[in-house]
Amino acid sequence: MTAVRALVRPPLVIAVAVVLAVVVLAAVTIVRLTLPSEVTLRSCRFPGPLTPTALDPCRLVVMDAVTARITHVDPRTGRVELDLAESITTSDNQHFIIRLAADRRFSDESPVTAQGVVRAWQDLADCRQRQPAAFLLGTIEGFQTTESCTSEDPRAMTGLTVIDERTLAVRTSAPDPDLPARLAHPATAPMPQSYYDFRPQSGVVPIGAGPFQISHNHGSEILLRRSPSYTGPFPAAVDSIRLPVYIDGGEAFNDVSAQELDFTDVIPADRLIGGRARSASDGRFALDGGSTTLKALRVADSRLADPRQRRALSMAMDRDFLAARLFDGTVHSASTWSSDGSVGACGTACTYSPEEARALWEQAGGMAGSITLWGTRADSDYPVLDTLCNEWKVTIGLNCKVELVQDTKELNERVNGGSGGVTLVSLQESTMAQPAHLTTYLTMLDWTETDAATAAAIQNADHASLGAHLAETMAVIPLWAGQTPHLSSSRLRDVHRTPMGTVDPVELTVR
């Protein structure tokens, strides 16, 4: 008993506590120093297999990490740097000689060769595949556009010549000083022979020559680990990147707020109201200068076939007011069909005018029944749709309801399957992929609206023709445009966005 009493004497207790605290602190420090560094980024359900040609942000970030390209764009300065290439020489910006660096290998240890690069580019440019990213190579001699494509006899690009194992020559149909910058896009990444030999398998765990390799892809999570065979100039700063799939974008926001996730680029509108996201994030909320998002409504309902109805719907929405209230000023009203204003001019049809909207709606005979506004859980679209529904209810008396599906893939399936209604679409545009953004209009318009001329306008990036068509039909109603916001955890030291608008995996560092 005396011994027990002696043990609990305050000085001794304090001494023991101090020693214990020091030991625990030292242990924690050692463990932190030796633990591999890992970053977790929000991911979503992929709309298709993991291929380099994917342009959606969730797949793009994976392929960006897994592949290496001829060039690399410094996200801080925008400067084009050499990656797989040891040198790119040209005297006229039309004839390029690309010399590949020695000892660059894919993560399966096979070498990166000039033949491999040419094969990847021919594959991307294969017009039968209608790859939206094919525009990246559109200036190379022999590039065949989709509308002139014959499925029986696709032509290979004639502007590509393999000189030797590490050298290739590229010839464009006209001077193209921006070609090296476009060759930084993951869609142009060479892939090993095994990728082409086992395509179905490759779409789950693709192999590239990038700083990361896929450790596992469970469907609900992808784990990227630093590639041990990577010898390039842009090694990963972290050991691994975990990409959990979030069905609900709002949950990802919660997890970043709670520091349980490091990054999300989906900020639900209801978190923006009143500056919530800004004020609650201690400076971890930011707008990305590298990419913009255009929010628009795709009208795909036969009961709204009259352009006057669509114009009325457009004029019934108070875009400016909602930009301030719903989006905390992170967006501005869109009056064209691209965020940089280069496609069409919506004019008065995109200006709030409740009286004119009502008159136009009545002239067109209104609409019987109820319209469904579709959106996705992944993008946390509900508040936006609910607000738009309210605008129509109050202004023109349209009966509408909101339905959410899981993600874009399911959304497209529903709408193309004849569910009708109006769909909220978010078109993320980046400096590198703006023409690809135009091609998404192809998929949006092909239900009734697209004629050959429009399709050609889209393919040829003919902004004027496409804009005129959209202004006439209002099949897509522009809403808002703005820089893409993101939220990061305080663990992340810096977040840089690539020219594709995705987070740069190479630049990720933790505190």
Partner: protein, 625 residues
């Protein structure tokens, strides 16, 4: 007496110290005098960790915001309706929010709630020490150990309702302070027959004042006020003047407020009592509510144990002629049982256990802490051990969960147990951030919160309409609902502005802002709907306290007339023009002048007794003769 160390029987007291004790005495002996405070510390931790706002809590916040905006203690501008059940809690929130404006009222409610609940257990312990304390010269040193307080602190519903934005913390604290105030007037044991009556009933003066606050804590707390008043009179010298002065002190605040209530709100009771039909009998639902609380935690065990101990003590004190102790010890459980019985009669509540917590505390209060003497009293050790073991089991056991809170038993027209809710769990799961304390957490949180933002923005843009909610769930609206459905539930408002009718008015009301007129489909927010009586022919089955009043009573008040209105709506409009209802509307909406205040004062009984049949035809026949 300010704390345990100064208790006469405390080991810290000089004559009771352990021989040889010094600055280096063992830790266990050092902390022993503070063990009784463990439940208070525990409940403070649990309350703060589980802090939350219920939708009903936001109703108080909306009134606070209306008050601070200069619109008076109302829910909707221009309608003098008392939507808060706890007057004291509401005015406390108003006062604190006015003094500390840089925090949201809901955040302040969290601090107040946690503080009041922990304080309640401190005063409960201090009161028990006074009730059970022997004279310093009697017996060996005493260690006070948690007993009833441990049992109360272990109950998960107490953790939940310590905060929630509602008044339960204040209610528990008021009970404990009254108990302590009465106990501290007792002479230490063993009391002699001649010495049990101490002083006059109005000394200290604050005690009758605090006891009199009961009806302002909650109107149903009048039963505790009466019980405490009896205990006060029994323990005081029998002098008429003493009793009269004490009664006057007790009545001064509630009496003044009652005059204000009658003149300002034109009613004798809060509107909640009228809307929720506080006088009706729903024994079946009430018993389900009781079992829903008693069964999962085996509450019968601590209650039985405590009652047995109390009866033993009472027998001993009766034998000793200590009427003061007997009165105080009996007052609490008797009032508690009456209080619980009242809530069983009215059908309980939809929030799990909430209204049975005061009764539980009342039963446990006299033995909140219990003295362990040397040599050890075996029965006391058994009593305390069983209580503490039960408390640990309950506190670490599973929480009550409900798969859903939808109404069942529609064929009988009565909701059954499934109508009860783990309210905290429900709202925490509804908000997207799973936080509920700040109003921003409720933006687009469902259950009408979305309509509120849209209505707020519409009002900002000078849009005007009346929007009827709940059309999908209410199948009894007939032609009126068909008409509303074709118009998205939106019709022209009777005057410019935005009105929305919803079933959960709390967070909706705060998010919508003071300018949006928020109509409660249950009738809490307007004087007319509150008086529409339950009728199974016209009001569908609902959870207790959630009878949605027929839509035509709302439309008649707030929607502009249209051609081809249904006969029910036309009759409802006609009833609003009949004298009793017209006078009521005028009493609560006309500009308040001294004349109207006096008129309301005179007619408040009539207005309170006014009931409106749910069927407009019957209402017309009854009220328009």
């Amino acid at each position: 007496m300010t704390g345990a160390p100064s208790t006469p029987n405390n080991p810290a007291h000089a004559e009771d110290r352990v021989p040889g004790a010094s600055a280096s005495r063992p830790l266990l002996i050092t902390i022993a005098p503070w063990v009784w405070l463990l439940p208070a510390v525990f409940i403070a931790i649990m309350a703060w960790n589980l802090r939350w706002m219920s939708d009903d809590g936001w109703i108080n916040v909306r009134v606070v915001e209306q008050m601070l905006a200069g619109n008076g203690p109302v829910f909707n501008t221009g309608e003098r309706v008392e939507v808060g059940t706890s007057t004291l809690w509401l005015w406390l929130l108003i006062a604190v929010s006015a003094l500390i404006p840089w925090f949201e009222p809901s955040q302040l409610a969290m601090v107040l709630g946690t503080g009041f609940t922990a304080t309640a257990l401190v005063f409960a312990g201090l009161g028990s020490m006074q009730l059970l304390a022997p004279r310093p010269s009697v017996g060996a040193p005493v260690i006070w150990v948690p007993a009833g307080a441990a049992a109360l602190a272990a109950l998960p519903p107490v953790w939940d309702f310590a905060t929630s934005g509602l008044e339960m913390s204040l209610a528990l604290c008021w009970l404990a302070v009254c108990f302590w105030g009465l106990a501290r007037r007792l002479v230490p044991l063993p009391a002699t027959r001649s010495a049990t009556r101490v002083g006059v009933a109005f000394r200290p003066w604050w005690l009758p004042v605090v006891i009199g606050l009961g009806p302002l804590v909650r109107p149903d707390f009048a039963v505790f006020t009466v019980a405490f008043a009896i205990a006060l009179l029994v323990q005081s010298r029998r002098r008429l003047a003493s009793g009269v002065i004490a009664a006057l002190l007790a009545l001064v605040i509630p009496g003044s407020y009652q005059i204000f209530r009658m003149g300002y709100y034109a009613a004798l009771v809060p509107n909640t009592a009228l809307a929720k039909d506080a006088s009706g009998a729903r024994w079946g639902e009430g018993l389900a509510y009781l079992f829903d609380f008693v069964q999962p935690y085996a509450v019968w065990l601590p209650v039985t144990l405590v009652l047995v101990v109390q009866l033993t003590l009472v027998r001993r004190w009766i034998a000793a002629g200590d009427a003061a102790r007997v009165a105080l010890t009996l007052a609490l459980p008797v009032a508690g049982v009456l209080h619980a019985a009242y809530f069983v009669r009215v059908g309980g509540d939809f929030m799990h256990a909430r209204f049975l917590l005061p009764a539980t505390m009342a039963v446990l209060l006299p033995v909140s802490v219990y003295p362990l003497r040397r040599p050890a009293d075996r029965l006391a050790i058994v009593f305390v051990t069983v209580l503490v073991l039960w408390a640990v089991t309950v506190a670490t056991g599973p929480r009550t969960r409900y798969a859903d809170i939808k109404t069942e038993g529609e064929s009988s027209g009565r909701p059954i147990q499934a109508g009860l809710a783990n309210e905290r769990g429900w709202w925490v799961s509804r908000t997207k951030s799973h936080e509920t304390v700040k109003i921003e957490d409720w933006i687009w949180a469902g259950s009408n919160a979305e309509e509120s933002m849209l209505a707020r923005w519409d009002l900002e843009r000078d849009r005007s309409y009346y929007a009827e909610g709940g059309l999908e769930s209410d199948t009894r609206g007939g032609a009126i609902h068909d008409h509303l459905r074709t118009n998205n539930g939106i019709v022209t408002r009777i005057s410019p502005g935005v009105s929305i009718a919803v079933e959960n008015i709390g967070a909706t009301g705060v998010l919508a802002g003071n300018g949006v007129h928020v109509v409660d489909m249950i009738g809490l927010s307007d004087a007319v709907s509150a008086r529409v009586r339950y009728d199974p022919m016209f009001i569908g089955p609902a959870r207790n306290g959630h009878d949605v009043k027929p839509v035509y009573w709302r439309l008649a008040q707030y929607a502009a007339p249209t051609r081809d209105e249904s006969p029910d709506l036309q009759r409802a409009r006609a009833v609003l023009g009949c004298r009793p209802v017209r006078n009521l509307v005028r009493a609560t909406t006309a500009e308040l002048t001294p004349q109207l205040f006096l008129s309301n004062l005179r007619h408040s009984v009539t207005y309170t007794r006014l009931t409106i049949p749910a069927d407009p035809l019957t209402a017309q026949w009854k009220l328009c003769q």
